[in-house]
């Protein structure tokens, strides 16, 4: 199945793009998508303990299973205000 990955702030800079499309096996989780990204962009590993994620613009957890067409966002620590 195909999912869209959204990256923000420094993660976007590290990847060189803010939006990626990835083919993943059926019933993949957010964690599996993240692990693939860490393989692709090793500098992402530093965010393992400080990262948040969202699925279809709702906060989610890493074990969350995905469906075809989902949008997964990986969010470094926030700094609004």
């Amino acid at each position: 199945m195909r999912v869209t990955v959204r990256l923000f702030a420094r993660l976007r800079d590290l990847a060189g793009q803010g939006e990626l499309v990835r083919e993943v096996p059926p019933a993949s989780t957010v964690a599996a998508v993240w692990d693939d990204l860490v393989s692709e962009f090793p500098a992402f590993a530093a965010y393992a303990s400080s990262l948040s994620c969202a699925v279809n613009a709702e906060y989610a957890r890493f074990p969350t299973p995905l469906a075809d067409g989902d949008e997964i966002a990986f969010l470094p620590p926030v700094s609004g205000g």
Partner: protein
């Protein structure tokens, strides 16, 4: 009518935000405005660029308004955050809280800014003399009860 929460690339209208929440039963309206500062961590800041995950940021702002309404039922709250490039001295965030008595309006506005810094997916890209850096603050987790409790304690002084 302007919504109570929102993101905008344009200058924030603090007086307009206050008018959104004011009513005849209110004896107080507190406004908070966050400004772009010319220094941070010993660096001379030249400007900031704010990036947001917009649909989730608006939902997070709505959540903060809902949380504040549960805590201070008499308070009317509005929160707008700016995105994009901002010069020193410009307003990046504006909060207006109106209530019958001032204590609740002060507390709710303080709570709102503390929660913004905890859970709203917005990031500051700081440009300073000699370089630039993404500012990374809190790991966003709206369900984190400790963080919420900390914001409440700060708000209630």
């Amino acid at each position: 009518m302007t919504p109570r929460t929102g993101l905008t690339e344009h200058a924030l209208d603090v007086a307009g935000l206050a008018r959104l929440v004011e009513g005849p039963a209110h004896g107080a309206v507190v406004t908070f405005v966050g400004l772009v500062r010319d220094h941070n961590q010993g660096r001379r800041v030249t400007h900031l660029v704010y990036e947001a995950y917009e649909p989730l940021a608006v939902k997070a702002l709505d959540r903060i308004v809902t949380e504040a309404a549960a805590q201070w039922p008499s308070v009317q709250l509005a929160v707008h955050h700016r995105t994009g490039r901002m010069a020193i001295g410009e307003a990046s965030v504006a909060i207006a809280a109106a209530s019958p008595h001032r204590a609740d309006a002060f507390a709710a506005s303080r709570y709102a800014i503390e929660r913004i810094k905890q859970i709203v997916p917005i990031w500051k890209h700081e440009f300073f003399e000699g370089g630039d850096a993404w500012i990374e603050g809190a790991t966003a987790d709206p369900e984190n009860a400790d963080a919420r409790e900390q914001a409440l304690r700060t708000a209630c002084g």
